[in-house]
Subunit: 99 residues, 2 copies
């Protein structure tokens, strides 16, 4: 719920299974047509590599000299899986910011 | 002293296909038995997610209150593959540092 609220205020993209360029295009559009000053990219587990790829391609190929990677944070989340076992998963949040 | 300096520069672990705990143990040992003040964790492509997992487990489970994630950098490398095509790969470098 907190997640949803945040979405309304800031521009955060969650990386998952969709085609790679969907994420890149979405980010580029936020900076261009929606005039965002910052866009966040979040991912968990195996999608972390993908989030880094998306950030690199968006900032270096499509928004070169316009957008920087301003901040990178990593963290862990713990939750109980279906078998009642405690599982840890890593998370990443990258912040792209207009120069 | 030169010995010490060298140690600080050379404490870098490259994340690949080895068992997960090999990397974690290696890092913990560098801080404990080898008394390193900083250890770098580097990875490329799909191993980036794993590097984040290694950093999180080492710093939060094994070296809690002793070691912090001091810095995270991402970048891209371009190279030519066997077919002569230009390929881009993302890289990450995490720096763990003694508190």
């Amino acid at each position: 719920m907190a997640e949803e609220k945040k979405k309304n205020n800031d521009n955060t993209v969650f990386i998952g299974n969709k085609p790679f360029m969907n994420y890149v295009t979405g980010i580029v559009m936020q900076f261009t047509t929606q005039n965002a000053s910052e866009v966040g990219i979040k991912a968990r587990g195996k999608f972390i590599s993908r989030a880094v790829d998306v950030a690199e391609v968006a900032s270096k190929r499509f928004l070169e000299n316009k957008v920087d990677i301003k901040d990178i944070k990593i963290d862990s989340e713990e939750f109980e899986n279906k078998e009642g076992k405690n599982v840890r998963v890593s998370t990443i949040e990258l912040t792209l910011s207009k120069k």
